[in-house]
Amino acid sequence: MRLKAGVKKDGTLTALEFSCTATGGAYPAGGTSLIDWLVRDLYLRPNVKTEMKDVYINAGPARPFRAPGHPQGAWALEQMMDTLAQKIDMDPVAFRLRNVPSYSQGRAGNPPYTTTGLAECLIEGAKAFGWEEARTHIRKSKGEGHLKRGVGMASGLWFAGGGNPPSTAVVKLFSDGSVNLNMGVSDIGTGTKTVMTMIVSEELGVKPNMIQIEHADTGTTQYATPSGGSKTVPTDGPAVRAAALSVKQQLLSFAAADLKADDMSLTLSGDEVVSVKDPSFKVKIRDVTGLKKRGVIVGVGYRGPNPEGKVVNPFAAQFCEVEVNIMTAEVRVIRLLGCHDSGRVMNRLTYDNQVFGGITMGIGLAMTEARILDRGQTGKMMNRNWHDYKLPTSLDVPDEMISLPIDKPDDAANTIGAKGLGEPVTIPTAPAIANAVYNAVGIRMTGTPITPLRLCPALERGGKEETP
C-alpha cells in the first residue's frame, strides 16, 4: 500500500492518494476488495484518488475475513492520520474530529448517513480512556528505563452493517401464553438467538423463558440470507419485530371482542391485555376467547426496504496503551478501549462479546498473525497449523479491555434502531496499536505483525532518533 496525503495547518484534510497491490491467489476472489474504502469514505477529503491491483499467484485464493479490506486500509490511513496530526502539531483526536463527514463521499451522489456516531466515538472514547492525560503523562515520563509506554488511537467505519431485505420470520403465540419464534437466520456464536428473543419479548411482553426458538433449518424455517457483513441483527431483527407486532395486533383485536372495546385502546402488559385508560379493565392472554378457540395466533413478519437515498454504517474509535521493551523489541498491549456506534445496543453482553472478540482479532493482525508462504521456492504455506499460525493467546490480550457503546438508536435505519457490530470492531485495532508503538519509540511500523522480527532491526537502526 502507498498513501500520500495533503493537510492544511488548521487540520483540514485536502487530498488522499492511495494505491495498493494484493494477491488474489490462483482464482479471482479479490485480494484488494475494499482496501481503499476508508480512504474514500472515512474522512472529509475534497480530493481523492485510489488505485488497486490484484495479482494472480500460485497460492491459495484470497477470501474474505472479518471486515474484508478494512483493517488493511485502516492500517495505512490511520497511521497516516497520526503522522499528519504530528506534522501540524495537532492532537490526533482533534484532527480527526475536524474531518468528520455526515455523508458518504465514496458513493455516487454523496448520500447522507442515517446517523454517524464517529464524533461521539472519538469524544466519549477519548474521555473514558483518559487520552489527554495519558499523552501528557507519557511525554513527561520519557527517557529513563528500557520499558517505554505509548498511547495511540484509530477510528473506522464499516462499509455495510445496515442489513437489507429479504428476511422473513414467523411468531406463534399459544393459548398458554408461550411463544414460538421460527426464523431461517443462523446463530454463528454471535448471540442472534438472544437478541431475537429480546425483540419478541419486548414487543409482546412475554418473558424470554417462555419463547422457544426454531431456526436455521432449511426444512422447517423460512428463506434467510447468510450471517455475514455484520448484517444479521439489522436484517432479521426488524422481520422478527414485524412478526411479533402482527401477533400483537391479532391478539388485541380478539381481546377487544371479549372486552367490547376498541382494539386501539388496548395494550399488552405482562400476561394480560389491558385498557390504556383504565388498567383495571383487562383480560388474561390465556382467557382471550379467540386465542382459546384457535389455540394459536400466527404472525408473519417481513423485512421492509432500507431508507431511500441514505447509507447505514456503523462507526468506531479505539484507544490503546502499549509498553515496548527497547532491548528486546517485545511489545505488550497494556489496555485497549473500543468505543462503537452500532445504533441501539440490543443486548449488552452479546455486544461486549463482539467488541472483545473483534479487538482480539485486531491484536492478532497487529501482533501475531501472518500467512507465510515458501516464497521463491515451492509457494506452499509454511504455517498451516494452529501452532505456527499464531493466534493471540489470553496473555497477548490486555487485562484491561473496555467496551464503551454509544447507545444511539438509528430510527431511520430500520424498526429496531440497530446497526451491525461484528466487523467494525476489528478495523481500528491494529493501527491504534501501531500508533501507540510509534508514540512509545518513534518507529513507524508499516508491516504486520509487530514482533521482534521487525521491530528489533528497526530499533537497532536507531529508529528511535525520530522522537514522537
Partner: protein, 325 residues
C-alpha cells in the same frame, strides 16, 4: 492420518528395552511431540512403546553428593512447580514455566522435552529435506525466520527445548539405559550437531531410554536465570533464549555459563562471552562486552539477522537483572 502401529504399555524398564529392540519402535512418554510427528509423517513407527507407567522414572530425590536426581517422567509442570527446583535451580524452573502452554506442560515430560524433534517447518511439513534423508535443506533459500544463527552445517534447525539450555548451564547429565546397559552422558555432550550427523539430534542409540537427569549440587554464590523472547506471550518456542548461571564471589564472576536457545541446532555455549565475563565485575562495561561477544560469530540466514540485536539486548537486560539481584 497416522498410519497404523502396535501399542505396548510396559511395566518394567527391561520390557521397554526389549520392546524397543524391534523394527521402527518409538518411545511414548507424554506423547505431545510423538503424536505430532506421526501425524505429520515426520517419521513412521510400527510399534509405540509407552513408558508412562514406569514408577521408577517418576519423582525427584537428592543425590548423596547433595545434587538432585530428576526422573524422566516428571511433567514439565512438575519441574516448574517443584519447590526444590525453584529454590536451588531457578533457571530450570523458569525455563519449564515458559515451555509451550499449560496443557502441554501438564502432559509433556522432561525426558520427552529433551528428546523432542526439531520444529523446522520444512521438516515438519511435506518436505523431504536433508534431516529426513533427502538431498537438500529447504531453509537455506526458503523461509528462515526461526532458524539458527550458529552451528548450522547443511541443516539450520534450532534446538527447540527450553529446559535443555538451563540443564546445560547447571552442568547436568542424563542417565541412559539400553540394550547394552546403563551409561551417563553429560548434557553438553548429549546433543549432536549437524556437522557430525544431520539425521540425529541426540547421542541416543536405537532402544536407549533416558531414565533421568542428575543435577550437581548448586555451588556457593550461584546466580542463575532463564530468559526467553517469543513472538507471542505463551504457547511459542523461543526466538531467542538464554540460560545464565554465574558464580559470583566478592563481586567478581568466577565462573560463567551462558547457554543460548533459539540460536543453534544444539543448546549453544557462548564460549567467548563466558571467557570474557569470567574474572570481571558485573558492571555496565562488562555486561555490554559480554552481550556483544555472545553473537560475534553469528552467521545468520536470509531472514533471521534480527536475532543478533535481539540476543544482545536480551542478554544485556538479563545480566543487568542478575547484577541487581
Amino acid at each position: 492420518m497416522i498410519s497404523g502401529f502396535s501399542y505396548m504399555k510396559v511395566k518394567t524398564i527391561q520390557d521397554a528395552v526389549s520392546g524397543l529392540a524391534k523394527g521402527s519402535a518409538r518411545i511414548h512418554a507424554g506423547g505431545t511431540d510423538l503424536l505430532g510427528c506421526l501425524q505429520d509423517h515426520v517419521f513412521s513407527s510400527d510399534m509405540v512403546v509407552s513408558i508412562s507407567g514406569l514408577k521408577e522414572l517418576k519423582g525427584t530425590r537428592e543425590t548423596p553428593e547433595g545434587g538432585l536426581s530428576v526422573g524422566a517422567l516428571n511433567t514439565i509442570t512438575d519441574i516448574s512447580e517443584s519447590p526444590v527446583i525453584r529454590d536451588r535451580y531457578p533457571a530450570l524452573a523458569q525455563a519449564a514455566a515458559q515451555v509451550a502452554s499449560p496443557q502441554l506442560r501438564n502432559q509433556g515430560t522432561i525426558g520427552g522435552n529433551l528428546c523432542q524433534k526439531p520444529r523446522c517447518w520444512y521438516y515438519r511439513g511435506e518436505f523431504h529435506c536433508l534431516r529426513k534423508g533427502g538431498d537438500r535443506c529447504y531453509a537455506v533459500a526458503g523461509e528462515s525466520y526461526y532458524h539458527c544463527i550458529f552451528g548450522g552445517d547443511g541443516c539450520y534447525i534450532v534446538h527447540p527445548s527450553d529446559t535443555a539450555p538451563a540443564l546445560v548451564a547447571y552442568g547436568a547429565a542424563v542417565n541412559i539405559i539400553g540394550p547394552v546397559g546403563m551409561r551417563t552422558v553429560s548434557l553438553d555432550h548429549f546433543y549432536v550437531s549437524p556437522s557430525k550427523d544431520v539425521t540425529k539430534e541426540t547421542v541416543l542409540e536405537p532402544g536407549e531410554i533416558v531414565t533421568g537427569i542428575v543435577l550437581p549440587p548448586p555451588v556457593k554464590g550461584l546466580k542463575s536465570s532463564y530468559r526467553k523472547v517469543r513472538a507471542r506471550r505463551s504457547w511459542d518456542f523461543a526466538l531467542a533464549g538464554v540460560a545464565l548461571s554465574l558464580q559470583i564471589s566478592e563481586g567478581k564472576v568466577t565462573n560463567a555459563r551462558i547457554v543460548l536457545s533459539g540460536a543453534a541446532p544444539i543448546p549453544w555455549l557462548a564460549f567467548d562471552a563466558e571467557k570474557a565475563l569470567t574474572g570481571s565485575i558485573l558492571d555496565s562495561d562488562s555486561i555490554k562486552r559480554t552481550a556483544a561477544l555472545t553473537v560475534n560469530r553469528a552467521l545468520p540466514l536470509k531472514h533471521n539477522a534480527y536475532k543478533i540485536p535481539l540476543f544482545i539486548g536480551m542478554i544485556e537486560e538479563e545480566l543487568i537483572n542478575i547484577s541487581k539481584a
